[in-house]
């Protein structure tokens, strides 16, 4: 197959369209189902002013006693008022409760076109929610790096330290953010109204730390012996050895760790917000699930995914810069 110039653009678009169509087909839609006989409805409509014409227009749209939600919008208000009592709302489709693409878009539009809006605690523009999440992630991530890098260096430099703590790290590493959060809540129970924030930071820091710790340790162990010999021949002090040789030589590995840590921190924030009910991308998702607005769940998932992708790309750029040097 010839490589088309815009493959990088067109193929992803095609992929997205395929998935969107599949989602749309699987999704349900809202219809109004007639509870009385068609004839009774006809009599009711005809009784209205210009009722005969209205009924002529309406009757063909009634398919097996169901009226699609979008058609209702086009009806004259007084007509709908007169007949709405004879209908009941229903969802039909392959998965009736899954909102389809159009419903999701319609319902999410206010959050996108006014992304900085603040209409209430849990009703804010999507960028504002994302910003809350990002601020919390940044704090937790900073804690993760501040703790993770020195721990990684200790692991890489000292085999005693490795033997002591590596098994423990391997046990703690696979624990899900959802499991850490309750512990965080208990730890900061007496911290007052900000307890939820501290618990979220605790979770993010603890989960996001491991890739940084492990990659730093690997990086330190991978520093070529030759570089260390250069330092030994020059009799560099321990501090200079660290700052002039070990840290620069480990940086590319550290940045790989930083990138993976950021990904995990972003995973953890969603879980933390869901459980603590904080406003944010994840908190919004959970709130809208409880409010039965399923469209917003999908919208939140997409937002979280896109933000995660952007964060990862940004970190890759930084990482590539450091990789290019050594």
């Amino acid at each position: 197959m010839n490589k088309f110039k815009f493959d990088w653009l067109i193929l992803p678009v095609v992929g997205v369209l395929i998935i969107l169509s599949a989602w749309h087909i699987a999704g349900g839609k809202k219809v109004y189902s007639l509870t009385t006989g068609t004839e009774e409805l006809g009599t009711a409509v005809s009784a209205l002013p210009e009722g005969e014409a209205q009924w002529k227009a309406l009757a063909p749209k009634l398919k097996s006693g169901q009226l699609e939600a979008k058609l209702v919008k086009n009806l004259r208000p007084d007509v709908w008022e007169a007949i709405s009592a004879s209908f009941e709302e229903k969802r039909v489709g392959l998965i009736p409760d899954l909102p389809n693409v159009i419903e999701t878009w319609d319902s999410s539009k206010p959050y996108i076109i006014d992304p900085w809006a603040k209409r209430g605690e849990m009703d804010q523009g999507i960028l504002r929610f994302t910003w809350y999440s990002l601020v919390l992630v940044a704090q937790g991530y900073a804690i993760a790096l501040i703790i993770g890098v020195p721990v990684g260096f200790c692991l890489g430099l000292s085999s005693t330290f490795t033997k002591m703590f590596d098994p423990l790290i391997q046990v703690l590493r696979p624990v899900s953010p959802l499991a850490w959060l309750p512990l965080g809540l208990v730890l900061f129970m007496r911290a007052g109204p900000e307890a939820g924030t501290y618990a979220a930071l605790f979770t993010i820091a603890l989960c996001g730390m491991w890739p940084t710790v492990l990659n730093t340790a690997v990086g330190v162990r991978a520093v070529p012996q030759d570089y260390l010999n250069v330092g030994r021949v020059l009799k560099l002090s321990r501090w200079k050895m660290l700052t002039k040789i070990l840290i620069p030589a480990t940086l590319p590995y550290m940045f790989t760790g930083f990138r993976l840590s950021l990904g995990i921190a972003w995973l953890a924030i969603v879980a933390a917000e869901m459980l603590t009910g904080r406003p944010g991308a994840g908190g919004f998702l959970w709130q809208e699930y409880n409010a039965l607005i399923y469209e917003h769940i999908i919208f939140s998932i997409l937002t979280i995914g896109v933000v995660g992708l952007i964060l990862d790309r940004l970190m890759s750029l930084v990482e590539a810069r450091f990789k290019a040097i050594s």
Partner: protein, 296 residues
């Protein structure tokens, strides 16, 4: 008293003897080349002199003081350059200079670094990173870095081993020139007899391991500066080259190499197809034999 002295130095790794009973004494200002086959402990020997590894037994002393660890009095030029890739040429050298001459002010140090960059003809490339340099240029930076710390003795560990023949020749001449002007004590580790003859006052062959040691030294009394083209026709040069080469070949011949081959004899067994698969014996009962061959 010798300037640098190795007394009964032996080194073994996990019980495998690499070097045994190495005795060497070098006078100040002397250029000594140690020639030997690859993998026979040349780098181990120079690492011990540099203090990067400790001898299993025996001792290394420089100016009467026993070598306990690495230090800037013994400048080591590494086989693979060992430049720090995140520092420019200038920064690589200044890292060493700043460390060794802390008493100097910034201007003195800068002038010192520049002097050595000029000496190895890299002034145009002083702000480049090592990856932007060719192999020969990198090795020149490495030489400049080592010379700039003004070591008492210069240890060159196969410094030109990874370079192409032309670059190698140019750098050999540069090393010869630098030695002429600086008159440092130099130990050059090499596997090239020609290179040793071109540069050294004395050539010491390294025998073949396990337990390699230094062979009989060959003094090189050729006029300096030595010119590689006229040297090729010099009868003394030819004699020395034959002498050293034969000595090295002799080491190899003295060692009998044996190779143990593992042979697996295939044996095909009939299969009883009535047996369920798990209970069937393996279809091929391999029998392992080994055979030892002596290579001439």
């Amino acid at each position: 008293m010798a300037f640098l002295e190795l007394k009964n130095v032996s080194k073994s790794f996990d019980g495998h003897s690499v070097l045994s009973n190495v005795n060497l004494s070098i006078a100040e200002g002397e250029f000594v080349a140690i020639v030997g086959y690859s993998g026979q402990g040349k780098t181990t020997l120079i690492s011990m002199i540099a203090g990067l590894t400790k001898p299993t037994s025996g001792e290394v002393s420089l100016e009467g003081k026993i070598v306990e660890g690495p230090g800037p009095d013994r400048g080591l030029v590494f086989q693979n350059y060992s430049l720090l890739p995140w520092l420019t040429v200038y920064e690589n050298i200044s890292l060493a200079v700043d460390q060794v001459f802390p008493q100097w002010n910034a201007d003195q140090r800068r002038a010192h670094v520049d002097k050595y960059i000029t000496m190895v003809k890299l002034s145009h490339a002083k702000d480049r990173l090592p990856k932007q340099l060719s192999g020969g240029m990198r090795q020149r930076v490495s030489v400049a870095r080592t010379l700039a710390i003004n070591p008492r003795i210069l240890l060159l560990d196969e410094p030109l081993g990874a370079l192409d023949a032309l670059t190698r020749a140019t750098l050999q001449d540069e090393i010869a020139n630098i030695w002429q002007t600086e008159r440092k004590t130099v130990i050059l580790i090499t596997n090239s007899v020609d290179e040793a003859l071109l540069l050294a006052d004395r050539i010491i062959p390294l025998t073949i391991g396990p337990g390699a040691t230094l062979g009989e030294a060959v003094p090189v009394k050729l006029e300096r500066p030595r010119d590689r083209t006229s040297l090729n026709h010099d009868p003394e040069f030819k004699r020395l080259r034959a002498l050293v080469t034969n000595q090295l070949i002799g080491f190899n011949a003295a060692r009998k190499t044996s190779v143990t081959k593992k042979l697996v004899r295939p044996e095909i067994m009939p299969e009883d197809l009535d047996q369920p698969r798990v209970n069937r014996p393996p279809r091929r009962l391999g029998e392992e034999k080994s055979e030892t061959l002596t290579v001439a």
